[in-house]
C-alpha cells in the first residue's frame, strides 16, 4: 500500500485491539461511510476477522488469518496478504475476497455470491455446497472440492484432487490441470464459446490476466442422475 493510502486508511492493529472490536467497528459503519479503506495489522491467525460485513469498504489484512475470515460477507472487498484458515468466505453473499497465499479446507463453503480469489492452493472441500459464488484458484484444490455444489463456478488453474464435484447439482467447474478423479454424478461437458467467454471474463476479474489460455481448461458439471430417487438404485441405500 502506498504512503498516500496509508494516511487515509484507518488502521487497526490486532496485537493491541481485539477482533471483536474490529468487527464491531466495521458493523457500525453507516451506508454512506467515508471510511472506505481499512488496514488490519498483525492478524496472527486469529479467527473470524472481518466477518459479516455489509458495507462496500475495502479491507487489507497484512498477514495470515485463521478460520472463517470474511464469512457472510456482503459488498465488502477483503484482501488477505497471507494464508487463510478453514472456511474463508464461508456463506459470503456478494463482494470480493482475495487471498494472496493459500487457503485451508472449505474455502467459499455454501457461498451464495461474489468472488473469492485464492492465488495459491486451496485445500480439501473447496466450494463445498456452493450456491452461486465464483471461486477462482490460482493453484490446485484438494479432494472433494465442489461437493454438492448447487450453483456458481469453480475455476482451478492447477489440479483438482479426488472426487471433484461429487453429488453436484448445477455449478460449473473449470480445471486447467489434472483431475485426480470425478465424484459421483460429475462428468466432463463440452466447452462452448459462451463458456470460454465467461471463463475469460472471470479470469480477468480475478486478476489473472491475459497470459492464461482459456482453451487449456476443461469443463465439468452434473450428469443430473441423482436429482430423483431411482428405483434401480434402491439396493445401494
Amino acid at each position: 500500500m502506498s504512503e498516500a493510502l496509508d494516511q487515509i486508511a484507518r488502521t487497526v492493529d490486532l496485537s493491541t485491539e481485539t477482533v471483536r472490536s474490529l468487527n464491531a467497528a466495521l458493523h457500525g459503519l453507516p451506508a454512506d461511510t467515508n471510511e472506505t479503506l481499512w488496514r488490519v495489522l498483525n492478524p496472527r491467525g486469529q479467527h473470524a476477522i472481518a466477518v459479516g460485513l455489509t458495507r462496500p469498504v475495502a479491507i487489507e489484512i497484512a498477514g495470515h488469518v485463521g478460520y472463517y475470515c470474511g464469512g457472510m460477507n456482503q459488498a465488502a472487498s477483503i484482501e488477505v496478504h497471507g494464508n487463510a484458515g478453514v472456511g474463508v468466505g464461508e456463506n459470503m453473499m456478494s463482494g470480493r475476497i482475495h487471498v494472496r497465499g493459500d487457503a485451508s479446507a472449505a474455502a467459499g463453503a455454501t457461498a451464495h455470491g461474489g468472488m473469492l480469489v485464492i492465488e495459491g492452493n486451496a485445500a480439501a472441500r473447496c466450494g463445498i455446497s456452493m450456491k452461486g459464488i465464483d471461486i477462482v484458484v490460482g493453484g490446485s484444490v484438494g479432494h472433494m472440492s465442489a461437493f454438492m455444489a448447487q450453483a456458481g463456478t469453480l475455476t482451478v488453474l492447477g489440479d483438482a484432487g479426488e472426487s471433484l464435484g461429487d453429488s453436484i447439482y448445477e455449478a460449473q467447474l473449470f480445471v486447467r490441470g489434472m483431475v485426480a478423479s470425478l465424484g459421483s454424478d460429475c462428468i466432463e461437458k463440452p466447452m462452448r464459446d459462451r463458456h470460454l467467454a465467461a471463463l475469460r471474463s472471470r479470469l480477468d476479474a480475478a486478476g489473472f490476466g491475459g497470459a492464461i489460455d482459456v482453451a487449456e481448461f476443461r469443463r465439468y458439471g452434473s450428469a443430473r442422475r441423482l436429482y430423483h430417487f431411482h428405483v434401480d438404485n434402491a439396493g445401494d441405500y
Partner: protein, 299 residues
Amino acid sequence: MCGIVGLFCKTPDLEPQLGTLLAGMLGTMRDRGPDSAGFAVYGAQDGLQVKLTVRGPVGTDFAALSPLLSQELLSDVGLIVRDTHAVLSVDAGHEIALRAALARLAPEIDIVGVGKRMELYKEVGLPADVARRFDLGGMSGSHGIGHTRMATESAVTTDGAHPYTTGRDQCLVHNGSLSNHNSLRRMLVREGLGFETENDTEVAAGYLSWRMREGDTLTGALESCLKDLDGFYTFVVGTETGFAVLRDPVSCKPAIMAETADWVAFGSEYRALVNLPGIDGARVWEPEPARVYAWERAA
C-alpha cells in the same frame, strides 16, 4: 476437538529454547483443549543411561524414595522431580532391577515413559498450568510434541491425556478418533504389546511401535497406518531422533506446518506458531492428506 503441536530443532542453537517455545504453543492451544495437557521432550542423552519418567499420586515423596532405590540397586539413581512426575535415570544395565525395586517399594508409582532421551509429562488442567507445574519452560531438547485435550469420549483423567508411548523414545499425539482400535488392540496384544488404557490413541502408538519393531522406518510405519487404521487422525510422532506428521486421507482435522532453516513446527492452527522465532519468513503450508512428513537428525 483437541489441539496438537510439535517442534523440531534443526540446529543445536535453538535447543535451550525448546521448552519455552513448546509451552507457548501449548498455551495457545488451550482454546482447542482446556481439560488436560501433556508433552514429551527429547533432551540430552547421558552416556549409557536410560530415563524412566514416573508418575505418583499427589504428595509422593520422590526425594525420600530415590536413596532407597539406589540402595537396592547398589548404584546411583539420578532423580529430577517435577510436580507429580519424576525422571529416574540409571545405567541401562540396571533398568530391570530399577523396575523391580519400584514395583516393590512404591507400587503406587507408574512408569509413564522410557527412553534414552524422552521425558513425558501429562496432567489434568489448563495447558499453561500443566506446562508451569512441570517447568516445561525450563527444559531444553532437540524436539518435543504436545497435546491439549477436549474430552469427548472418555473421562478427564491423567490416563486419558496424551502423549501416549508404547516404545522406547517413541510417543504420539493424536487429534481425531479411530474406529477399529479394538480389533487392532487384540491383534497387537497377540504380537506381544501391552496397553494400559482403553484409549484409541494408545493403540495407534502401539501400532507404530509394532511396525518399527518389525523393521519399518518411522516413515514406513506411518505409511502402514494408511492401510490399517480406520478413522480420523492427525498424528505427530516423536522418536529418539525423528519427528513426523501424518493426516488421514479425509483430513477432517486441521493441520498447519511451518519451516525455517532452524526449525520445523506443527500446529493444529497457525495461531500456535505465531511466536516462533522467524515465523514471518517461514514457509507455511497445510500438510496434504495421506502424506508422511518426516525429519531425522543425527543420533
